[in-house]
């Protein structure tokens, strides 16, 4: 059995290597980026098949201004901030959550938003804010948490929503003439929630094939192979390689919970700029739990980090290796930009797995 799988992978790899046209394929999801780097697929592809990393790491695409806004909130308000661990080290313009914690801010790491509710229950005299970040995969759990807080009548709990949805960003990438992408490995986990239809419409509208793909080495090889077959036949539709997890209709219950709590708003993405209807804000009936409004946190203007090319990396315009800071001034221990911080960031994936000369 094991040997059969091994042989099948080699067979797929050879079939991919035989493809003659010149193509750029974007893997949208950060988990794909990690899996590709870890298996070494990129290094085994011929030069005519290019794999680009997309804007699929929620920490990475969070704009500098939004990070600064969160830092302003913990500096000026007497709150307990609950966050996923990845956000701690992301550098803001002048500080990071990690630095703020060392200066005395009460910032705690949680693995589930429901942990934040527990903190809110245990600290009725304190304001507890959950830093909501993530795509369609994580947003439903935050939505459920917000509804739970409402049911319990917890009036010291709120969410600072940096949530985003993936399809508008992909639409932007497809329509940007500067970004050359011929096909997409679509995010398996996001698709498990929203289904495959949206990607089908994108494929038809921009005439680019899309394959919803899983995260094992075998899945990714199959995904690439399926994309190449479509390109060869000049087809452009959505295919579901990850059908063992992704149902065509997605997960309607998760989608409904998101829709009950959140509404789409324009959002700024690092590297891609303002994208209409790509952010999620708490709906009017939950606006008392919207930390941005509750604590009156202003929009903060984006100050780009000098020399940092995370924006170009996220848009698939360059690979991390082309950034002058990569591996020198910017490493996982001393990250300059978010793509080096998040464990799903493209730069972290390249740094962690791809042998390059001259790294410090």
């Amino acid at each position: 059995m094991d040997n059969d799988v091994k042989e099948y992978k080699q067979h797929l790899l050879r079939a991919i290597q035989l493809f003659s046209g010149s193509v750029s394929i974007m893997e949208v999801c950060g988990t794909h980026t990690m899996a590709i780097a870890k298996s070494g697929i990129r290094g085994l592809l011929p030069p005519n098949i290019k794999l680009l990393s997309g804007p699929g790491c929620p920490v990475c695409v969070t704009s500098q201004g939004d990070i600064d806004a969160v830092i302003v909130m913990v500096q000026h308000k007497d709150i307990i901030l609950i966050t996923f661990g990845d956000m701690m080290r992301v550098p803001g313009t002048h500080s990071s959550l990690q630095e703020e914690r060392s200066r005395g801010a009460d910032i705690r790491i949680a693995y589930s938003p429901l942990d934040a509710l527990r903190v809110a229950r245990d600290n009725p005299d304190k304001e507890v804010v959950f830093l909501g970040i993530g795509f369609e995969t994580t947003t439903p759990t935050i939505a459920i948490t917000i509804e739970q807080a409402r049911r319990e009548g917890l009036n010291n709990f709120s969410v600072f929503s940096l949530h985003k949805v993936v399809p508008p960003a992909l639409e932007l990438i497809f329509s940007d003439s500067e970004i050359k992408v011929d096909g997409l490995l679509c995010p398996g986990h996001v698709s498990a929630v929203i289904g495959v239809k949206t990607f089908g419409s994108l494929a038809r509208k921009y005439h680019k094939p899309c394959v919803v793909t899983g995260f094992e080495t075998l899945d990714i090889l199959e995904g690439i192979y399926m994309l190449l077959q479509q390109l060869k036949k000049e087809e452009a539709r959505v295919e579901n390689q990850y059908s063992r997890v992704v149902k065509p209709e997605g997960n309607p219950i998760a989608c409904q919970s998101m829709e009950r709590v959140f509404q789409p708003v324009p959002a700024r993405w690092r590297g891609l700029g303002m994208i209409p209807a790509s952010g999620l804000q708490l709906r009017e009936e939950f606006s008392d739990m919207d930390a941005r409004k509750r604590f009156d946190i202003p929009e903060i203007e984006e100050i780009p980090i000098k020399g940092c090319a995370c924006g170009e990396v996220l848009a698939g315009k360059i690979t991390p290796l082309e950034c002058v800071l990569f591996g020198q001034a910017c490493t996982p221990l001393n990250p300059v930009g978010p793509c080096m911080v998040s464990h799903e960031g493209s730069c972290a994936a390249y740094y962690r797995y791809i042998p390059t000369k001259g790294r410090s």
Partner: protein, 336 residues
């Protein structure tokens, strides 16, 4: 009948401390050096170089499939001494006990230490017990410090590693880390995973026949195989190139790790050794190791390269080469 438990008074230094030491520790560990009951142990040691190693054990749970904190506290320090090329001789131990620990648990732990020490041929010669308030520790923390004698011709410093040397791991990796995680999180797998917790004393017999053809040894505990390889690559200033397919991982461990999103190469081991050996003798050493029950799954996993100094590269199942990095942050806490 109420269960007897450790009280703060057991750490007072008075009568109750005395009784605890007499009834639990001295009884289990009986030897003439300890029984002298001096403020310290007076040891007769052969001439030569001494190796000394210390380790503290804070594992939770105290009892796990394949061992307990007592056995672990002996094996851990003994293996460290073995990795230095030493024959372990004497151990000291210090207990920090949380008020309320069932006395029966402490007896089992002391007996387990005694048995492991006997099997290995080391003596527990001096010790200390402290009791802290409930909540200030978690059951019991144990420190052991050991000394051993290094034969005159043996030198296992990483700097002796040469290009072309082969890298051997003495068995499947990741068992201990996963066994602890599974027990702690209440995960049940169809094939139970058991810790590899063991003192690798039998290894010494084999190793000693190879003299300085053995360049260096390390036991891959916290941070696992990947972390040890990285440490050695930096210390020796060499590149280490390994093959994923040649690294032995038990199918149950691989399956469970896949499920949990963890990597066996970063999971702790408590009964394995990584051996760097001259290429000419690698196969012979491997054959010898495979004859021992403890090391029958030993495998040559890679070799030393003069290129890419300080870096560990792994050939993936697809045949691509990538970096095998050092453990960053996320791991399973309190596994030893």
């Amino acid at each position: 009948m109420t269960q007897e438990r450790i009280l703060l008074a057991h750490g007072s230094g008075g009568l109750m401390s005395q009784r605890l030491i007499d009834e639990v520790f001295k009884q289990a560990w009986r030897n003439e050096i300890m029984e002298a009951m001096l403020d310290g142990a007076i040891l007769q040691v052969p001439a030569g170089r001494l190796a000394m190693s210390t380790d503290s054990f804070v594992i939770t749970p105290l009892f796990f499939p394949g061992g307990d904190i007592g056995k672990l506290s002996i094996c851990g320090t003994v293996n460290d001494l073995l990795a230095c090329g030493a024959t372990p001789l004497y151990l000291s131990t210090a207990f920090i006990i949380e008020e309320g620990l069932p006395l029966a648990d402490l007896r089992v732990i002391a007996a387990s230490m005694a048995q492991t020490a006997r099997e290995v041929g080391v003596k527990l010669v001096t010790g200390d017990t402290k009791v802290v308030e409930k909540g200030s520790a978690d059951g019991v923390f144990i420190n052991t410090t050991g000394i051993g004698i290094i034969p005159a011709d043996i030198d296992y410093r990483p700097q002796r590693i040469q290009p072309q040397d082969q890298v051997i791991v003495t068995g499947c990796v990741g068992d201990h880390g996963l066994a602890i995680l599974a027990r702690r999180e209440g995960l049940a797998f169809s094939t139970p995973v058991v810790s590899d917790c063991a003192a690798l004393i039998q290894l010494r017999e084999i190793i000693s026949q190879y003299g300085n053809a053995i360049r260096c040894m390390r036991d891959p505990t916290r941070g696992g195989l990947a972390t040890v390889l990285n440490e050695i690559a930096v210390q020796a200033g060499v590149g280490i190139h390994v093959k994923e397919a040649d690294i032995p991982v038990a199918p149950a461990v691989q399956g469970a790790c896949d499920l949990l999103g963890m990597e066996p190469l970063y999971m702790a081991n408590e009964g394995k050794m990584v051996i760097f050996v001259a290429a000419a003798l690698a196969q012979s050493l491997l054959n010898d190791l495979r004859r021992l029950p403890q090391t029958q799954a030993a495998s040559i996993i890679g070799q030393i390269s003069a290129e890419t100094p300080g870096m560990v590269l792994i050939e993936t199942e697809l045949g691509a080469q990538r970096i095998l990095g050092i453990l960053e942050g996320e791991h399973v806490p309190r596994i030893c």
